[in-house]
């Protein structure tokens, strides 16, 4: 080993070779945000879009076309930011869960989060109308509406599923990865059956339930941001404190404990944090698959071993992927019709993932 690397004062060993990847990802992310505001069902000139964005950032005076600002900032930019945050959160959660469970096939929905959220959302879609009608004036007074019920119900369902899976997976208090995975499967199976039941009993809401389950940012705006941030920040905190624990967990439970890690506690916190992040994304945008699986997988090839660089990279990589997947979702079909973004990620991610696995 050369002397120059012996005392390299960085938290990431060998990180000098990693910086180009980080800088590249960050630049890509930053550039993607404004560029992704360009395409959309309403044709707008690039000049107008950038002008509106610059005005929003306070760089130039507000242009005198209120509709332009309305479309660019209130609709497109909000969507792009939500997609960037959701993509980052899903990819980070995927990387963390794969580390905690030492299973490269784990994804953010492993603990039955998707089933829980889908269950909550379909209940709200199917039963929310009658509920709001029954409450009548009281519902209006509390600010409840049928559509507004879906996101909180999904969040509640996801958190309930998470709690159930963690409680079941507790086993002898050690949160072994087998028991956690089994608990997730059990919870997902039960809640999946509940969703099927709701669909069977309430046929007119099937379409909206299915569309919601496939994931979409259609109609989501800045008002979804607080919910997303409220789940993202706690998850980020657990990962900020637990990323080195993920490294140690990779050695197996026994060596991790001998190296000084409280394995059960670390696993509980990381599972809870990653799943909390996921629950927020699901509540806002439905179930978007493949981001949490493909992004960490690709980044591991670029960044090598170690969860610190991986988590940082996943935030940017997942954001970029989901922003552009959402652009495709809203532009592919003509006449303002949209594809569920989960369909886009799965259609792109599936073959890409298969190719990666094949080439290895």
């Amino acid at each position: 080993m050369s002397k120059s690397t012996a005392f390299f004062p960085s938290s990431f060993p060998q990180s000098r070779s990693l910086w180009p990847v980080f800088v590249g990802l960050a630049v890509l992310w930053l550039v993607s945000l404004p560029l992704a505001c360009l395409p959309g069902p309403v044709p707008l000139s690039a000049r107008g879009v950038f002008r509106a964005l610059a005005a929003f950032a306070g760089l130039v005076p507000t242009p005198d076309d209120p509709a332009l600002v309305q479309v660019v900032v209130r609709i497109r930019l909000a969507r792009v930011c939500l997609a960037a945050l959701c993509g980052g959160a899903l990819a980070m959660a995927g990387a963390a869960l794969q580390g905690v469970l030492r299973n490269p096939l784990a994804d953010p929905f492993t603990l039955g989060i998707s089933a829980g959220a889908a269950c909550g959302a379909s209940m709200a879609i199917a039963l929310g109308g009658p509920l709001v009608a029954a409450l009548g004036g009281a519902a209006g007074w509390m600010g409840l509406s049928h559509a507004g019920l879906v996101a909180p119900a999904a969040l509640l369902g996801a958190l309930a599923a998470l709690g159930g899976a963690l409680w079941l997976g507790r086993g002898d208090g050690a949160f072994s990865r087998e028991s956690v995975i089994l608990a997730g499967i059990a919870v997902a199976a039960f809640l999946g059956a509940l969703v099927a039941l709701v669909k069977a009993l309430n046929e007119e809401s099937v379409t909206s339930i299915v569309f919601w389950i496939m994931g979409s940012f259609q109609g989501r705006g800045w008002n979804s941001l607080p919910l997303l941030l409220a789940t993202f920040v706690p998850g980020l905190l657990t990962m900020g404190m637990g990323w080195r624990a993920l490294d140690v967990l990779a050695l197996g439970d026994e060596q991790a404990a001998q190296t000084g890690l409280d394995v059960g506690r670390a696993r509980l916190w990381l599972l809870a944090g990653a799943s909390c992040m996921t629950a927020g994304c699901v509540a806002v945008a439905g179930v978007i698959g493949f981001v949490g699986l493909v992004v960490p997988h690709v980044l591991r090839m670029l960044l090598g071993w170690g969860h610190g660089p991986l988590l940082v990279g996943a935030f940017f990589g997942g954001g970029v992927l989901l922003v552009w997947a959402d652009v495709l979702a809203r532009c592919v079909l003509s006449g303002g019709q949209e594809l569920p973004v989960g369909v886009v990620t799965a259609l792109l991610g599936g073959p890409f993932f298969a190719l990666l696995v094949r080439r290895r």
């Binding site: 012996a6 060998q14 439970d253």
Partner: protein, 303 residues
Amino acid sequence: MASPQPTNDISAPPMLRVSGLRAGYAGHAVLHGPGFSLRAGECAALLGPNGSGKTTLLRALSGVLPVQGGQVELMGRPLASLRPRERARMAAVVPQRGQFPPGLTARQMVLLGRFARLSWLGTYGRADYAAADRALEETGAAPLAGRKLTELSGGELQRVLLARALAQESPLLLLDELAAGLDWARMVELFDLLERRRAAGACVLMAVHDCNLAALYATRLMGLKNGSMIFDGPVAQVFTQENLGALYDIPLCVLPHPCLGHPQALLARTGGPGAAVGNGCAGHAAGAADGDHGHSSPGGNEI
């Protein structure tokens, strides 16, 4: 219990105190109450046939296997009351079979030994890099630093695992079959290193298959059979034909090392031409240096 070898500071509290230890796996007790205590400056070798409970004992002492009965104290504090982080600062472990993820390099592995000493942010500081590089240097693993663990041979991997334990800077070292897979030169290098650490005040407890190696390097031998301690004491006192014969259930003869004087054991054949009779080989050992097999001269084997 036999009193341990004289050490630098006899008044210090024992590094490790074990009494009536019971541990094992679901429905199958492995350890039936062995007890001993180890002080700083001691190097104890744990001898015993396969399945006698050596690995189980080390796993129980490192806190990864629940203690079902008896007491274990690390530096005067009950093992059960220690948080994993505190425990890891007191005792470092070299496991028999290390598990590791693909893509991990030797240096990254050694740095993970610093986990118990990191701040809550989890970033490595100058001291961590220095400790890791020193440990790699000491174990002769420095040339391997950038290599992936999956590309290393068994002996190279053992050196990296020992480097990780040394980087942990814990006073008690628990080593499970460190010599496995090492060639003679590497083995001597690593055991000389352990001897230097011991002389500097570390405390070593190691499970060893090769009892001759143990006699050369340990200050104290413990014989574990079916989960119970059948002998425990300084090498010169307990390395006898009777003790080892009873431990391994085979006839063997004990001779002093021709150069060093430490007792060494030789296998005596149990069948075929020239086979030993009974539990030893008195007839064959008659011409050997001391004649009085089993109890070599006390003056010649102080370590």
